[in-house]
Amino acid sequence: MSTIPLGPVLDTAHAPGDGARVVEPKTPALLLTNHHHLCPGCGEPLAIRAIAEAIEDLGLVDTAVCALGIGCYTSFGSTVDIDLVQCLHGRAPSVATGVKRMLPDATVFTLQGDGDMVNEGLQEVLHTAARGESLTAVLVNNGVFGETGGHMTATSVLGQRTKNTIEGRDAEYHGYPILIGDLIAQLEGAAYVARGSVHNAGAVARTTKMVRRAFETQRRREGFSFVEILTMCPTGWFIPTGEGPDYLASTLGEVHIMGELKADGQIRTTEELHAENVRKAAELEAQLARGGLED
């Protein structure tokens, strides 16, 4: 933590004058307004921002088409400047398949939540991946049906307290969570599978790179690409907004491990990613103990 003494409050209503440059990443122009309807502390706007940034960076603005699922993120349909098709619950990968086959030069992606993709439409995404459709599926995973009030989904982790698992998810009664990334990575048609998160700035940057790699995979027509993004849902989790990131890291993040599950033809399981993340964290700690990061 910093030891800087707090000075007076500075003017942040106006941009500084000459001699200051805007720092990248700027907020993407594709996001038409920041007056959206999602709750305070929601992680989904960060996931949407990562997608918009990747589309702008890769110059895909004119060719991008989104097949949008049903969830809180659906309200973004009117405030993001991307062509989109609104799909029935869980059916976005099939609609995206149709769009891609009719418009092979378009950059087609789905945006779905965990309730939409893993509960309602699990077979849609699995078949689309197995067929090796050259499109990108993006899953925003918060482990609850946020839009309908915070009920358990198929990705809720064991012990997670939700509206209908008040005592925590119990394997004997509610079954085990589905690690959708691992399922898709096993399919021959999937070319790129990754799991990111938005619980801190580093994770957001890493996730943006994953989305970018997924779109690049699609542009090279290598097959199906999939990015899962863990997002905070303080409203559905019944916690204060400020606790969202830590809650995400300690519950969902402990089971749905961040990393690239399939890239360059190499499959890695969630267990392998976990071992790698633990090793990297230990290395970072040792580096900090030696007196700082080497860059």
Binding site: L10, T12, A20, R21, V23, T27, H35, L38
Partner: protein, 83 residues
Amino acid sequence: MTTVVKSRGTVTIDVESCKGCELCIPACPPAVLTMSAPVNKRGYHYPELHPGCTGCAACLMVCPDYCFEVFRFQTPVEHEVPS
């Protein structure tokens, strides 16, 4: 006693869009953002910037309401701050 605090960067904050989630407060590496005492038109507290910003853009990257724009000065600005 005063200390000189250098700001290598600064931000603009769209306070009327802020929903007071406080995600930017712990995300700020030099810890120079605090929540305001007053509230915006929608009734939410919003972040305020103090001297010492490095222009790292961590606040921008974690803000779900896209309130921040980040700038870096060519030459750091110095502030006299009571210590």
